[in-house]
Each structure stands twice: as C-alpha cells, then as structure tokens.
C-alpha cells in the first residue's frame, strides 16, 4: 500500500516537472510583456517593477490588432462553415449511393491526403494569380474548403456508415426530399463528428501561416498570424512590445480553450481514434 502511494508521488512529480517545462515559456513571455526593453535586457527573469499595460496598447495599435482579429475570425468562420456543410452532404451521398463517380472521387480524396501543401502551393499561386484572384479573403476561404474537404468527407463517411437507413425511410414515407431528409434527420446525428471537425479545422485555419501569406498581399487583409509575423520582424529590438504582441495573438484562443476545454479535449480524442 505505502509502496503504491510512494510510486504515485514520483509519477506526480515527473508529470509536474514536465508540465512546468510546457508552461514556463509562456509565463516568461507574459512577465516580460509588462516590462520595458531595458528591464528585459538587464534581467529577463525579474518580475515587472510596476504593472503597466502600455506595451499592450501600443502593440495592439501598431499591429492593427482588431483588424487582424476580425479578418481571422471571418476567414475561420466561413471556412469551417463551408467545410462542414459541403463535406457532410458529400459524405452522405457517397455512403448512400454507390455510383462509380462517387467511388472515384472518394478514392481521389483519400489519396490526396498524403500530398504535402508544398507540392501544391507554387502552381496554386500561379493559377489563381493568372485568374487575378489573389489578395482576396474569399479566395482563401475557397481554398480552405478544398484543402479541408478530404479529411472532413473521410470523417463523416466513417460515421454515416454506422447510421441505420430505417431512420431516413420514415422521412421519405412522409414525402421529404433527400435534401430535407439529410438536413432534418441525418445531420443532427452527426454532431460528434461535426464538433471534432470544427475543433481540428478551427485550430488549423486560425493558426495557419503559409497559405494566407501566399494569398493575402495587402496589409489590411492580414490575419493575426501574418500581422504578428510582420510586427515582430519590425520591432524585434523592442522586446517588451514584441512580447505583448505575442500574448495578444494567443489570448483569444486561450480564452476559448479555457471555456471549452472539455469539448476540445474530447473532440481531439475522438479525432485521434478515427
């Protein structure tokens, strides 16, 4: 008995130590975001001498934080919305109708999942550039639909296979069309998968850097990741300011995580099993 307790203490301390390593970098940045650059250079470990949010105010202003936040929000929202709506319908058709075309498109999607983005980005920029569609938020959203489709269809496909057809038959007997049946009967049942997709795609799109950096050219269209990158590059020497900008960028997602942590962790766990 006492041996077990002793062992549990050791385990607890190992985990505590590792967890501290995971959190300390964030704490270091938070502490320094309240300090002046001189104080940081003198001692990056000391606590701020006086509490001042001036770094935050200045950083938010210079990096046009609100603009970047809204851009990211719009892009993430419409990207996820499109992925969920179109992929769920597609997966439903693919499960219920075994047409040759369906099987072909589905296999193409599965196969495409191993293509690294780097193998697509150059022709992508070339094609959409020629069509004069770059520097447009809607082009970016459209692209996220394309890059998110395969995984979402795959996830929905796996789940819909397990839904008994009898549920839908009742709706057809009452004269519902396939479109109505899907949205009224099937889609509500897909909630667990939808949650997982929203979380995984949400994290991906909100934090993505490379694709927006290729598509969005003008400064006022930048996402948070982009404005952080450009801001940090310009103000590398002003540490206090740069640290405040980093914290500003991660705050929204940390707040969402703290509120929804249970759902997020469950969504990730479900996505992990597949």
């Amino acid at each position: 008995m006492s041996k077990k307790v002793y062992k549990d203490y050791i385990k607890f301390f190992i985990v505590l130590l590792i967890s501290l390593l995971y959190i300390l970098p964030f704490i270091a940045v938070i502490i320094n975001s309240f300090k002046t650059t001189n104080d940081i250079m003198a001692n990056p470990l000391s606590l701020p001498t006086k509490f001042s949010v001036s770094n935050y105010i200045k950083a938010a202003e210079k990096m046009t934080y609100l603009r970047g936040f809204l851009n990211t929000l719009i892009i993430t929202f419409f990207s996820i919305g499109g992925i969920v709506v179109f992929s769920a319908m597609t997966a439903y058709l693919f499960v219920r109708k075994k047409w040759k075309l369906n099987r072909l498109v589905f296999s193409l999607m599965i196969a495409s999942m191993i293509i690294p983005f780097q193998a697509i980005m150059i022709p992508l920029v070339k094609i959409y550039g020629t069509l004069n569609l770059l520097n447009n938020m809607w082009t970016l959203i459209y692209m996220y639909w394309g890059f998110g489709a395969a995984f979402a269809v795959f996830m929905y496909h796996g789940f819909i296979k397990g839904i008994p057809y009898e549920l839908e038959e009742a709706a057809y007997v009452e004269g519902a069309t396939e479109f109505q049946t899907f949205w009224k009967v099937v889609f509500p049942l897909l909630k667990p998968v939808t949650t997982t997709i929203v979380i995984l795609d949400g994290l991906w799109i909100w934090n993505d850097f490379l694709l927006p950096s290729l598509i969005l050219i003008s400064a006022e269209k930048r996402t948070l990741q982009l404005s952080t990158f450009y801001f940090y590059g310009t103000y590398t020497a002003d540490y206090g300011l740069a640290m405040a900008a980093l914290i500003l960028t991660i705050t929204p997602i940390i707040i969402v995580y703290l509120i929804l942590q249970k759902n997020i962790i469950n969504g990730i766990l479900k996505g992990a099993i597949k």
Partner: protein, 291 residues
C-alpha cells in the same frame, strides 16, 4: 432515363461544390505542378519551354538542396522519435490515476493551440535571452550563449521546440488508445503474475499499435512539412544551416524565382513523404493485433 437525370441533379446538389472545389484547389494545381517541373518556367515570362527531366537532374547536383534534404531527414527522425517517446510516457503517466491528471492534460496540450509563428518567436526569446541569462548567472557554459547562433545547436533547438509543440497532441492519441484497452485484460495479466514491465511490453504496447500507427504517421507528416516554426525560430540561419526542405522550396520558387526547379523539389518532397509514410503505415498495420 428519368432516373439518370435525377442522379445527376442529386450529385450536383450533394457533392457538386465539394467536387469542384477539391478539383480546382487540390487536383488540378497538383497535376499542373507536375507539368511545371518539366519546364524552364521562371514565373514571369509567359512562355515556358518543355525541358524534360532536366530540372530533376540539376537538383541532384544542387548541394544546398541536398544539404537541406538530409537535414530534414535528420530533423524528422529525431522529432518523430522524441515526440512519440515523450507522448507515450506522458499518456501512460496521465492514465495511471494520479492526482490532477485532467489539469495536466489541459496544460500539456496548450502549445498545440498556438500557431508555429508565435511558438517560434516565444522560443527565440527563450533561447536568445532567458537561457543565456541563466547560463551566465549560474556559470553553465552549455546555455551561456544563444543556441540559435550556432548551426549545430540551432538544429537541436528546432527539434526541442518541435517535440515540445507536438508531444501534447500525440499524447492525446495515446491516451485515447490506453483508455480503450479493456480493463479485464490488464487484470487477468496481473492475476497471472505479470509485473509492470511485462504488462507494458507484452500487453499494452501491442494493443496500442493502432495509436502508434496514427501518431507516428501524423508526426512524420507534420515534421516533414514544418515551415512557420522554422521561419520564426531560426529563419533558416545561421547561414542557411537550419533551412528545412519546406523553407528551401519556398525560397527557390518565390525568392529566387526558379519555379520549375522549386516545384521539382516540392515533388521530390512529396514522393519522399509518400514512400516513408506508406512504409510506416504498412509496417505498423502489420504489428497491430486484435484486442
């Protein structure tokens, strides 16, 4: 005939948009990209000449690419190894019923919420300022100077941050697997007199094989494609010594304007990832057992 028309309408309603978007964003650019590798296109001129596989041959003599490619293999190897070791260890500890395991899970997952750009900048500050300060104060030579200033150490800095970033995510995959192992199998083995080590190697690890398949696959894919972390942490420096393949492709195409060669390098990356992940999935599927 009427049925066929109905099918077409149905396809368009349910899968039309997905098919169109998927083809125009993924498939057509990919195929067009393969074609571009066979041309001498520089991205500006409208004309491009078909030059066969000459781009691929010139890559074989491109020492910066070969360096970047080998470096990436080394980076992927160590990242995948340590990510999965630590992730498994953490998952094992966090499913053994210790106090506060949910809080620990939440904390360990935090880096995955944040984009590679911000994580890279955070660690750049740690490596450039915090660690050297500590090193000089306590007289520890290993960290007295910034790791990012030396090619060798900058590489390991990149590995450390990658492991820090992804082990929490992969931990979740192992937790999902561990929780799924039927408790009676574990109990039966304990009754049969199996010690903790036997239990791990003979029962838990084999039953956890599906989690290993997924987690190794994901960590392979992600570390092969890393770009934002590389850009924010080291910018490929010092002297292009930490330029991983993804960043190399970016510079070749968009900075040096060698689109044909850049795309050929991207295709080589694709082929490498495809081969390595297929072998990995094939091998670990073979190792999987039924519970």
């Amino acid at each position: 005939m009427k049925n066929k028309a109905k099918n077409v309408v149905n396809y368009i309603i349910f899968a039309g948009i997905t098919t169109m978007v998927f083809l125009t964003v993924v498939i057509i650019p990919f195929l067009y990209g393969v074609y571009l590798t066979l041309t001498d296109w520089n991205g500006i001129e409208a004309t491009k000449k078909y030059i066969g596989i000459r781009n691929y041959i010139s890559i074989l003599n491109d020492s910066t690419f070969l360096y970047s490619f080998t470096l990436t293999l080394k980076y992927v190897f160590f990242s995948v190894l340590f990510i999965n070791l630590i992730a498994f260890l953490l998952a094992y500890l966090l499913t053994s019923g210790i106090k506060g395991q949910n809080v620990f899970r939440i904390a360990l997952f935090t880096p995955n919420l944040i984009g590679g750009i911000v994580l890279g900048f955070i660690w750049q500050f740690i490596f450039n300022n915090t660690l050297p300060y500590i090193g000089q104060k306590i007289g520890l030579g290993l960290i007295s100077n910034s790791w990012l200033a030396s090619p060798q150490k900058a590489f390991w800095a990149l590995v450390i941050v990658t492991v820090w970033q992804y082990s929490g995510y992969m931990m979740m995959i192992y937790i999902a697997g561990l929780v799924g192992i039927p408790q009676d199998i574990i109990e039966a083995s304990t009754i049969d007199g199996a010690g903790q080590l036997t239990r791990i190697t003979k029962i838990i690890l084999p039953l956890l094989a599906p989690s290993f398949t997924v987690s190794v696959f994901l960590s392979l894919q992600r570390s092969f494609m890393v770009y934002d972390l590389n850009l924010a942490l080291t910018k490929g420096g010092p002297f292009r010594s930490t330029e991983l393949v993804s960043m190399h492709v970016y510079s070749e195409a968009f900075l040096s304007q060698n689109y044909g060669i850049g795309q050929a390098k991207a295709i080589i990356l694709f082929i490498t990832v495809a081969i390595i992940t297929s072998i990995q999935v094939y091998l670990s599927k073979k190792a999987e057992v039924e519970a």
